[in-house]
Symmetry: C2
Subunit: 281 residues, 2 copies
């Protein structure tokens, strides 16, 4: 059963792809896009991502059944709070942010009991490319979406959110918001920082001497600095812990190399290979 009225707040890569996927798969009857730039919104209508648009959040959510907040992680909580006061009581609110604990903390004690229900979501899909121009109807095909209900979450709303992501082609699992953030610090946020670090220490004059290894290991360093700075700050404690683990690991590499410990280096490399081999190619 498709969503009657879907409102997407923030029509960029993720929001635009949600619109395209919902259209293509018939997951929503009517889609409203909320954004700040009227030209971007007009283009999103022309590209078939949304049916109508507004720059006023309150107006955009007034008739919505499902609202997805797709703004940068440092704006998600504010946009959810604005949505609470403007959306119909029957509606369900979710988001698409890369961090979840910060939203739960920001909303704690501020959720009116009679208000629309909120369930956090994080689709593990994206691109180093930014903006609705790179949106794709198949962005969520067979990708994982992590939903992060808490003890207080409305189970009916949880079902609405899970079914919607599945209707876009995604697989859905549930996690505790804090566990989500700890895991993603290792599987997504730290790799981004390391990729950026690798790129930054490489002089531009040496780029001609790179091959596939450098290309792949630094690809995500092309991501948007503002979006990623916000993600790192929103998940600061877990990212710091992951960074410390990584720095310790690389310092061990340095020590093994300094002491010419061949067997130790082979073991060190074999531990990384074991994990990567388990992931598959």
């Amino acid at each position: 059963m498709p969503v009657q009225t879907l409102t997407i707040i923030g029509v960029g890569l993720i929001g635009g792809s949600i619109g395209l996927a919902a259209k293509t798969r018939g997951a929503a009857r009517h889609i409203i896009g909320v954004g700040r730039d009227p030209r971007t919104l007009e283009r999103a209508i022309a590209d078939g991502m949304i049916d109508e648009s507004t720059t006023e959040l309150a107006k955009g959510v007034a008739e919505a059944d499902l609202i997805i907040v797709c703004t940068p992680v440092d704006r998600v909580a504010t946009d959810i709070l604005s949505t609470f006061t403007a959306a119909p009581k029957r509606s369900v609110i979710t988001d698409a942010g890369s961090t979840k604990g910060n939203i739960v903390r920001a909303l704690a004690g501020k959720l009116p009991t009679t208000a629309p229900a909120f369930i956090g979501s994080h689709p593990l899909a994206g691109s180093e490319k930014k903006g609705a121009a790179h949106a794709r109807a198949d962005l969520f095909d067979n990708r994982l979406v992590i939903v992060t209900p808490t003890a207080e979450s409305d189970l009916e709303a949880l079902g609405v959110v899970e079914l919607f992501w599945q209707a876009l082609g995604a697989r859905v699992i549930r996690m505790d918001p804090v566990e989500h953030d700890k895991a993603l610090a290792l599987t997504s946020h730290l790799p981004h920082a390391a990729a950026s670090g690798l790129a930054a220490v490489t002089p531009l004059s040496m780029l001609g001497l790179t091959a596939g290894g450098f290309r792949d290991s630094t690809r995500i360093a092309a991501g948007d600095p503002d979006l990623w700075a916000a993600i790192f700050e929103a998940n600061r404690d877990a990212v710091l812990a992951a960074t410390d683990n990584f720095l310790e690991r690389m310092t061990e590499f340095r020590r093994l190399l300094t002491t010419d410990d061949r067997a130790g280096l082979v073991r060190w490399l074999a531990e990384g290979k074991k994990v990567r081999d388990a992931l598959g190619s």
Copy 2:
């Protein structure tokens, strides 16, 4: 003009691909493979990589015009020295190792002036997959091969080596061996260590929560630990210097995050993005 007799010492991913490429492109009339495992060599003949094989290096190079040493970097110098005493004076020797300075140092003063000429080569092509089973005739298509002549190098031999790689479809540039090693420490060796470090600090239980970013940034961690430990040791000083730059860069990330310096984090990320954007996608 094709090479009359080509001998490939070490018929693995690189050696096997050289054989396939030379066959496909008519770059050699007769190809001899030298290896340690007769079954691997038989398979290489069956797969059309080489025409004949031997486990005796001296026998394999006795009639060769061009010899390419494709063994792991910690065996290249020894195999070159064995080749010097067994190969015809007219022949030209090169290699395909990822490090070049260690070979120049190992050979210094040991090159008989009347012996075959040696010119170092490093094809920037490969795979995290190991062995002749993964060899490909197009491995060098439009890839870069760095040749590393020294002041003592024979210019005619240099031409033979450069034309051979070009005949396999590669682009060729010349570099000083030490400059090569400094650059590759940053563009290849450090990224490998960082990819391994990222993979190793990730618990196996979290692999289900990874997406394309983790997959790409850790792909090369699946490489062979023995081959890579040898590369790190062969290029130890430059890899240590690159690792120190990287550790400093990541420590700066840690400091910016700890102090909640949003503007600093955005700048830090923008510096990495600038380099990665310059490389292109």
